[in-house]
Assembly symmetry: C2
Homo-oligomer: 487 residues x 2
């Protein structure tokens, strides 16, 4: 396990580290007794059982919580938060714990409130495609549930086997289908949320349109559990497409990849459901650590294109015309197409498993950047030149269709000199091009102090006011999302 | 002109009326002098010129403002609001003044802040399709600007010739393309907003993804100018489709219309861009008042279906197969299809001009209801039975694809007895089916006190806290959106 961030105290030299512990109360025997009565058998204090909930998926942030609560109902969450609010106890809400910015694990001894037993589908309407479920449903389970009913989830991401829909909504997860179905801000129709003081906000509407007052649910989408705990979600699900095709293509330059994207948008139009990329360095890591096979000729860049439509013949015709165009104009050097589920899955895994392959390289410095699409790979190349031999790998992959680059820099172990060469350089570069320093991962613990690179002071101050209004004691996911200093 | 709502004082019998005037300051000569220096020639006090800004489009709500300000820049808006905030002067922000709930006109003597001269496109990126413009741009002008560049606006509505994009965003306008491109909560990427005290919030991002802190722009989408004045918008625009087809069909029952909708979603899939309906009563009014011609055999229900796609041959094939299916199964009794722009426009006007036709009937009681789609016409039929001869017309039209019914009830003139028979009956009915009492029109002045039919008290209380945080003096669009009593 690499070095961990553990209550180090943030400093100008290390703004991603944890700040000093705030003066929350400690969990007492009386508090534990209350929880054990409320949640018999679901109040976990065994350190071995707590271990995995205290550490993030990347094993880079570790907390020291002594109690993990596993409520099953909204009412139980409400009672937990009322108790914690009255006693000034800090709480870390946790879904599948697959976040990449240290947002889902405690920093010190926050009580972990896990949604893992809140995993029931409440209703599904197969006319409207509206699903209502508890927050702890695993994304892949929901996908399977819907596919049996001829629908799909409007989002999909690599962590689907573990992540919870509540966590997806809390972090405004993007993923692989955003290009087609838009963000959760549009597809989430309603939320049930427990506020810091235990009040239950029932805004679990199942309507496509509702303009009655302020849209409160938006406050809880993407606020990383700092304003309330999402306990149930209603979400609009698209029909399962009748035909899905995946093409895996190679390009010899990023410029050619961008031109391919332009052709793709014009010729595939409304059936385009994903346009993703990885570079040659990602492919090497997939081959090296996961023993995956590159299905085409080696290229500097690889593209995954997915189409999803209602007429297989039409879709294949569009895809064929597109491929002919980009092959004859030499924009694409080689490629393969899959229409069969197993092969589709195999091609997708080349894109989806890059994050996993990187974890085998030692320590990974991860950046999730939004930029104008024509700039996204310049940052990777610039960073390679800037870091030289200091970094083991500098790789780029991500969502071309969304202008979203995942820049990853690896090193055999945690390396403060390397970090100092990357940051704030990467943030300054992004800010100069009016990009976002966190496109879809959120800010969590690791990125909170960099918010000013993407948001003006007035905006951050207003965020602080919202936090103070909804969680005046600051007990919900402290040390996350908002910077240590609001100025 | 029918009877107007003019500072009547809301009562349990008339909750849609205006409450008593709040103790805001009056506009003094000193205030006027300040405005005249700031906005020379753009500080309007001539009562004749003020007339049209004091009355809503439906001519049902009239204020008595004595000054209309026409700023050109965000800085001017900021100075206006700072001045008003310091002096406790109430302000009514106004776009194209096409709202249907009395949200865009003053109730008493609020200063009218018009965005009509803030009509400049700031940037347009023809790779990403991201448009940034001032809030006062007229929707149709933006549509024309984009069409010349091979893009379209993600929203379209009957009032496009007058409504402003800032007003569209402030009211979270839905309209005719929501089914395809989703709501403004997803397509609006950034906003610039002036807060009540004059502070400028610059969140005019042009990125598809940005998860750095709370998404503040959502607070201003749909809050009807009560939390801030939107001065600029950036919005993601889809490519102009290569092929557009419109079909106008007749159905003999609403059940058959719903079955047609199910076939349509399955067979047209991703190319479906609108599924709208009107009933036979609407058609009669179009013929009577606007001299429009019904292009098909008389039917109890009419459907407008639009497809928009990237391949004309494929789209026509899909549409043809769909029409054959619904004609042979007798779901549809008659129909006509248009591919040529003039004919498309003519067919669309049958749906778009219903609102206008209704204004010729005398007084119209307008309801904009979201319901599960299979219930939407039950409300119209139930209301006809309930009202009997009291109403001149009870008509239904709207967005089937969004479960959104426009229920309109006409009367030769304003009729308190009729109103008492409609309300709260219509709201209770809607609430019973967990619908929304305002799907896309907002609450404005007329519907504010009915919010509890669609939102729980806890939610309304939180809305009140947000209002108090952002506009502690309550100067921004008072008497609108939030109910008179927050309990």
């Amino acid at each position: 396990m690499p070095d961990l961030i553990r209550g180090l105290g943030a400093s100008p030299a290390n703004p991603g580290a944890a700040p000093p512990r705030l003066p929350f109360s400690r969990v007492t025997q009386e508090v534990l007794a209350f929880f054990r009565t409320l949640l018999p058998g679901r109040t976990i204090t065994d350190p071995d059982l707590l271990k995995s909930s205290n550490v993030d998926w990347l094993k880079t942030v570790e907390g020291n919580s002594e109690v993990l609560l596993r409520p099953k109902t909204t009412e139980e969450v409400s009672q937990i938060l009322r108790h914690c609010s009255e006693r000034n106890l800090a709480v870390c809400p946790q879904g599948g714990n697959t976040g990449l910015v240290g947002g889902s694990v405690p920093v010190f001894d926050e009580i972990i409130l896990s949604t893992s037993l809140m995993n029931q589908v409440i209703t599904f309407d197969n006319i409207s495609g509206i699903l209502t479920c508890q927050a702890g449903c695993v994304l892949e389970n929901l996908s399977n549930y819907l596919e049996e009913r001829d629908f799909i989830m409007p989002l999909d991401l690599g962590a689907k086997g573990s992540c919870h829909i509540g966590g997806n909504v809390s972090t405004n997860a993007g993923g692989l289908r955003l290009l087609r179905y838009g963000s959760l801000r549009g597809t989430v129709l309603g939320l049930e949320v427990v506020l810091a003081d235990g009040r239950i906000l029932k805004c679990l509407a199942t309507l496509r349109k509702d303009n009655t007052g302020y849209d409160l649910k938006q406050l809880f989408i993407g606020s990383e559990g700092t304003l309330g705990v999402i306990t149930a979600v209603s979400i609009l699900c698209p029909r399962k497409p009748k035909a899905v095709n995946v093409a895996f293509l190679g390009c010899s330059s990023f410029q050619q990849l961008l031109e391919t994207f332009q052709y793709c948008r014009g010729m595939l139009g409304e059936i385009l459901s994903a346009f993703e990329f990885l570079d040659a360095s990602c492919m090497s890591l997939l081959e090296k650590h996961l023993k995956l096979t590159n299905p085409i000729t080696e290229s500097p860049f690889y593209i995954v294109i997915e189409t999803a439509g209602s007429n297989a013949t039409h879709d294949e015709e569009k895809l064929h015309q597109f491929l002919e165009e980009v092959m004859t104009s030499s924009l694409v050097t080689d490629g393969t197409v899959a229409t069969e589920a197993t092969k589709i899955k195999a091609l997708w895994s080349l894109r989806e498993r890059v994050t996993e392959a990187l974890t085998h390289e030692g320590y990974t410095y991860k950046y999730d950047i939004s930029l104008p699409v024509e700039k996204i790979y310049d940052l990777v190349q610039d960073m390679r030149g800037h870091l030289g031999d200091m970094a083991k790998n500098v790789v780029g992959y991500g969502h071309v269709g969304d202008g979203n680059l995942h820049l990853n820099i690896t090193s055999p172990s945690k390396d403060p000199a390397l970090l100092a060469a990357i940051e704030p350089y990467v943030y300054e570069w992004t800010s100069e091009w009016k990009g976002s320093i966190s496109a879809e991962h959120g800010l969590g613990l690791k990125k909170r102090n960099y918010i000013y690179y993407s948001k003006p002071s007035e905006a951050v101050a207003l965020m602080g006011s919202i936090k103070a209004m909804l969680d005046p004691k600051g007990i919900l996911n402290p040390y996350k999302t908002l910077p240590d200093n609001i100025h």
